[in-house]
């Protein structure tokens, strides 16, 4: 089994991850005339982006001409409880419309307005209908468009290839090492610049909308190589995942259901969200049902329905209703669109949801309400990057999309993820290409580093009777679900950290059988390392932040704290030990601060 041979490829820019951000980065880097490699853990076009449903947030102003980047910026910052990196939020709001139009030029066909422009839909936390969409399968349209544009740009695509470690030349990143999932053979990449676009960490929780791929690979690659992570305490639990039957628990139900008129109800039929409007959003949220319903048609004279408060607020509200015994039969709440919109409209606007409930839960959403509950969905925290260039804190490394931190602050607004992928994917590709062009000297592979990774990769085979990797993964998911979930408290976070420490030790003893050819047991064993790393980062940062804000709620510190409003929790490895610091947020310039003085 000790076959440590490997093949070698060389590129100016290596992009790890082929969802929206990775594809957009690769396309941009290729446009700069450098050689680009694109690594995907699955087949091309199957990345997590394909599952995105609701839409891409961009202030195109097609439906509400009042919309502009300033309003989008303001919504994004307020949704993130003002903890966002202001510059990222600004660039995002400014550039998102052009990125959407660019997708259209590359073949994306969004739903249209009556005058033939891109239609936009309502979503949580957005003042105006802002999401460019295709029914409820926007992510599919986006990834397919990028995929089919990308394959004609001279990019070398490495499918079903998993990167295990970044390689370094001194303090600079100089490549990556991993394996082909199909054969189990090893592969080395020499690269002048590396872009991380690996997505999130949601597989660390039991109830999750995330697939097997979301094991925090990029977060861990960056951390292990010496880069900083920020905001890892902030995890978004999407308020509406399926809850029944058990095998589909966690599968996403798009916020578009509420954007298109659906409303949340408890078992008594009450629209309970009216009881959960926080002070921070009172000024912009309707406080009675009539105004909320009028808002869909007339945004000038009415305030937004509380069903479309930002996701953190809605997820907590559902959690409270269920705990108070007002939930649905299977431990969720009801999401009703059938009594509020005609069947044809529902099928046209939400075809995937219709299909999904019909096929998997025997529920006809045009006739019955859905049962929904919170599901782990997205991590706001990630690799600390420079806003303009997406450069991480070590030379040669860039990060874009969910793996990057800062853009969304303490909570991401729905629709801002797809736009984030495009805006910062492009910026990452551009910056990485420029960096690669200016980087002198030959790329060499350090034999010592390569051997160390190869040794680690093979290790699980030498313990054929070790612990079952799947069992360990399930224990970790159980731990994170029960102790580092929506509502957190110091004692439970300490307990979680203790358990993670013990799981880390046990992970060193997992064993796998079979051979290296397409062996999911082996892949799961290897992914445990990154999964445990991000779980520890999340729990440790959550313990540090002694307040409640966005996707981080502490039962023992239930309010936001002005002192904590000014700092990020920054994490870094030093001699193998996770270090944690508080660092001040970048300061927003006066002209942007002024945007928050206006109408609330």
């Amino acid at each position: 089994m000790a076959n440590a041979d490997y093949e070698t490829h060389e590129h100016d820019v290596l992009v790890i991850g082929a969802g929206g951000a990775g594809l957009r980065a690769a396309i941009e880097a290729a446009a700069q005339g450098v050689s680009v490699g694109l690594v995907c853990k699955s087949l091309l076009g199957k990345a997590h982006t394909v599952m995105a449903e609701g839409g891409i947030a961009a202030a195109l102003g097609n439906v509400w001409p009042e919309d502009n980047w300033q309003v989008h910026f303001r919504d994004t910052m307020r949704g993130g409880k003002m903890l966002n990196n202001w510059r990222m939020a600004q660039l995002h709001a400014q550039e998102a419309p052009e990125r959407v139009l660019e997708l259209e030029r590359w073949g994306a066909l969004f739903d249209r307005t009556k005058d033939g422009r891109i239609l936009q839909r309502d979503f949580g936390g957005h003042r105006y209908a802002r999401l460019a969409h295709v029914g409820d399968r926007t992510g599919l349209e986006m990834i397919r468009t990028l995929q089919y544009h990308g394959i004609h740009q001279g990019i070398d695509v490495y499918m079903e290839c998993k990167i295990e470690r970044l390689l370094k030349d001194g303090e600079r990143v100089s490549g990556a090492f991993g394996y082909w999932r199909e054969t189990g053979k090893f592969v080395a990449f020499k690269a002048k610049a590396v872009v991380l676009a690996t997505g999130g960490i949601g597989k660390a929780w039991k109830i999750t909308s995330n697939s097997w791929e979301y094991t925090g690979d990029g977060h861990s690659l960056a951390l292990w190589a010496g880069a900083d992570l920020i905001d890892m305490e902030f995890v978004q639990f999407h308020p509406t995942g399926m809850v029944w039957p058990p095998s589909v628990r966690g599968i996403l139900v798009t916020e578009g259901v509420r954007g298109d008129g659906g409303t949340l109800k408890n078992k008594d039929g009450a629209r309970f969200m009216f009881n959960y409007i926080p002070e921070f959003f009172k000024g912009e949220t309707a406080d009675d049902e009539a105004e909320a319903d009028r808002w869909y048609e007339d945004k000038r004279n009415n305030r937004r329905t509380p069903d479309l408060l930002p996701r953190d607020e809605v997820a907590r509200a559902i959690n409270t209703e269920v705990k108070a015994g007002r939930g649905s039969p299977h431990g969720g709440v009801f999401l009703d669109i059938c009594t509020r919109r005609p069947a044809d409209y529902i099928k046209k606007r939400l075809p995937s949801m219709y299909h999904q409930f019909k096929e998997l839960a025997d529920v006809d959403i045009t006739k019955e309400p859905m049962e929904v509950g919170p599901t782990c969905h997205y991590v706001m925290g990630g690799v600390r990057v420079d806003a303009d260039s997406t450069a991480a804190t070590m030379p040669g490394l860039f990060a874009a999309g969910e793996v990057a931190g800062g853009m969304h602050g303490a909570n991401r607004l729905g629709g801002n993820s797809l736009s984030d992928l495009l805006v910062f994917g492009r910026r990452a590709g551009l910056s990485a290409a420029l960096y690669a062009k200016n980087r002198g000297g030959q790329l060499t592979l350090d034999a010592g580093q390569v051997e160390a990774v190869a040794h680690d990769l093979i290790a699980p085979f030498n313990r054929a009777h070790g612990e079952n990797p799947y069992a360990l993964q399930a224990e970790l998911q159980e731990t994170m679900q029960s102790l580092v979930g929506i509502i957190r408290t110091e004692s439970e976070l300490r307990e979680a950290l203790g358990k993670i420490e013990r799981l880390k030790a046990r992970a060193e003893r997992v064993g796998v059988g079979g051979n290296r050819q397409y062996n999911p047991g082996w892949h799961t064993a290897l992914d445990l390392r990154s999964l445990l790393t991000v779980a520890e980062c999340c729990a440790a940062a959550a313990l540090e932040r002694k307040e409640s804000r966005g996707g981080h709620t502490r039962d023992d510190h239930p309010y936001t704290d002005d002192q904590w409003a000014k700092v990020n929790v920054v994490q870094r490895l030093q001699n193998g030990v996770l270090q944690l610091r508080r660092e001040p947020l970048p300061e927003m310039p006066a002209e942007l601060r002024a945007l928050f003085q206006e109408r609330k």
Binding site: M51, L101, S247
Partner: protein, 251 residues
């Protein structure tokens, strides 16, 4: 909880066979859940592809009791109690291991298709398209690339010698989507005939039957494409189009 018998193909290019697994299945489970349970408890190295588990990514295609389906959208209660359920890799593509096949053929075909080239935009730099003009293409865009249509296509399945000059139903609707795009300027007639091999399709509709997205591949994609081909090669039609300035640029 009832125990079910799953007859799963185990093997690789060198050979293999079906192996029975007895698994506990719970209410609401789909075939993919049961395969995952086998992986987690009995055969860690059982190979299968999956991602979204909600019929959106098209990764978990397999032949279940001989029928090409997505494992994630096939409910266990579809089968009779006590019946052994067979799960095999999709047969048309070379096996890698267990339920995983080599589907590179599809990626090569995708690459060969002449991409979209748009007309110039409106004076404001953007484009206008009416919903009714893109409804049909949006239907094609629902494709999740599960390649089940490619799996059942007789040309690909039974005629290795024809594969070189045949794209298959997935890519016929891809090409149809490009051709019907209101802003496209490329004439793919020759490509569709010579390289994509539309003429080899004899419209048995097997592709349409297995499409998990219920795309009308044959009626809305392939047949109109065959008709367009005939029109495009008709010298009279070509002359009229040239006079009216309606011709697309040839590849």
């Amino acid at each position: 909880m009832p125990t079910v018998t799953m007859r799963v193909f185990r093997g690789d290019a060198t050979g293999g066979g079906f192996k029975d697994y007895h698994v506990e299945a719970e209410e609401g489970m789909v075939v993919l859940d049961v395969i995952h349970r086998i992986q987690a408890t009995q055969a860690n190295d059982l190979a299968c592809r999956w991602n979204c588990k909600a019929g959106k990514c098209g990764s978990c295609s397999a032949e279940i009791n001989g029928k090409p389906r997505l494992m994630c959208m096939t409910r266990m209660n579809l089968f009779r109690d006590g019946e052994a359920i067979s799960v095999a890799p999709i047969r048309t593509f070379p096996i890698v291991k267990d339920l995983v096949t080599n589907v590179l053929y599809n990626y090569e075909k995708a690459r060969a298709i002449p991409p979209l080239r748009l007309k110039p935009p409106e004076p404001d730099g953007t484009y206008r398209m009416m919903q009714e003009d893109i409804d049909r293409i949006q239907e094609f865009h629902k494709c999740i690339e599960c390649f089940l249509c490619q799996d059942v296509c007789h040309v690909i399945r039974d005629h290795e010698e024809l594969k070189k000059a045949f794209a298959g139903p997935r890519f016929f609707i891809k090409i149809a989507g490009l051709d019907m795009h209101p802003l496209d300027t490329v004439d793919r007639t020759e490509f569709v005939g010579r390289e994509a091999g539309i003429g080899l399709c004899n419209i048995t509709k097997c592709c349409t039957e297995v499409c998990p997205e219920n795309i009308h591949i044959t009626d809305n994609g392939i047949i109109p494409m065959k008709e367009r081909m005939a029109d495009n090669l008709d010298p009279v039609v070509r002359l009229i189009r040239r006079i009216r300035g309606m011709r697309k640029d040839r590849v």
